[in-house]
Symmetry: C2
Subunit: 247 residues, 2 copies
């Protein structure tokens, strides 16, 4: 857990804002964020609020000009620098709404740096609401204490992902037909990593062959049970964080 | 993933039934299970169905006497013995409905042997619908290929859980104030294990002191971010399965 100073208290509301933050910057909030602070958290004039902008770290601010539906937050001091996010990507074939939302939330909490939706032959969801996914990532970042949002890429076809794969980044894929033990593989291939999880129903034979043939691909085993896509994603990310990340 | 024989095909429906299974046993299904087989999976006379009873493994059966709302499944041969489930318990303070359901599903998929709801001072949910949780565990077991259901215990108070803790079972608890790296701790304490996850808001100081003072307790760290209870549970179970389980 982040070492939070005694002040502000852990219960201090924490919000992501698009406004670049610096001392004396004033952020005017209305809409859902104001509703959350005013109606849910009962913020009054002078109360502390923590803000982060995904660029300059986490800042302490004070509520001013609190009204019924809006308020101003006056930034005072920096509480933390922006964190160094472990260099792990999560490449996932979108699954149905509730489950992909959950995957985004967990990937953010567990510390993923970048989320790449991958379109495969058996991908059922072809139209992804990236705004909704981004909202889930922001909410998770606010809740888990991240000062950096996970990047959320535009969906890409598996063939293009493999074709344009960057040098020096290991591609760990959950190999349903049996791979090497995940923790050992992740330790042996430290450095930039990515986890690739197939859709419900798995990759088809041709896709699996293309992944296996990729020079940076390492097939990992995640046990004898058939894991749902989002379960495999959370498990593989946790194993990577423990073996090669910042846990 | 389990090595499934070519027959029956992977797409063969898979159901848990209360009936003890053996060759030539006939299981009459109606209600939701019949609806699933007939209306969702379009099972016809003679089609294969996989059954497990949490006692004798997984069996192949054939549909007979298929009618609009019911059918009979005639057991033919055993496909697999009942598996040996890794000896891991998951002790969780119940969280709100959607999240506890999710935790049960993931614990089952990841291979937990026993789930123990634990009542703590900050536990918000005091009335747990165990039937609903059991239904989620069964559905997850059907989907992930388990031949053994996770046991689901009655809720117990934290103090009683600690008081009656069995000899020789390590109690790994997610220590928000910093513990040892989880994978190393789990390897050092192989054998029967349990993971204890606190409620949203964590254990209170007195509870944490009681857990720390327990002779079998080992505090583990799950990274610098604040994990939701169900995220911490899934991550810790995955780490244990990789370090000391059957992954």
């Amino acid at each position: 857990m982040p070492a939070t100073p005694a002040w502000p208290p852990d219960s201090t509301p924490r919000l992501f804002v698009e406004t670049p933050l610096a001392p004396d910057v004033r952020v005017t909030l209305d809409g859902p964020q104001a509703h959350y602070l005013l109606s849910v958290m009962r913020v009054k004039d002078g109360d502390p609020v923590r803000l982060f902008d995904d660029a300059s770290g986490e800042w302490l601010a004070r509520a001013e000009a609190v009204r019924k539906r809006d308020l101003i937050l006056a930034v005072t001091e920096r509480l933390r620098e922006r964190e160094a996010v472990p260099d792990l990507w999560l490449c996932i074939a979108p699954t149905k709404k509730g489950r992909i939302d959950w995957t985004i939330e967990k990937a953010c909490e567990l510390g993923v740096d970048r989320i790449l939706p991958v379109v495969t032959r058996r991908t059922v969801v072809d139209r992804l609401n990236l705004d909704r996914l981004r909202a889930h990532a922001i909410e998770a970042a606010e809740q888990c204490g991240r000062t950096a949002l996970p990047a959320l890429a535009e969906p890409v076809k598996l063939a293009h992902l493999l074709r344009d794969w960057p040098e020096g980044r290991t591609l760990f894929f959950a190999d349903e037909t049996g791979g090497v033990p995940a923790t050992a593989a992740m330790r042996d291939h430290a450095g930039p990593g990515a986890i690739l999880i197939g859709p419900e129903g798995g990759f088809d034979a041709e896709e699996r062959a293309a992944i296996r043939a990729h020079p940076h691909a390492v097939g990992i085993a995640l046990g004898p049970r058939i894991l749902r896509a989002e379960t495999a994603a959370a498990a593989a990310v946790a194993l990577w964080m423990a073996a090669a990340g910042d846990w």
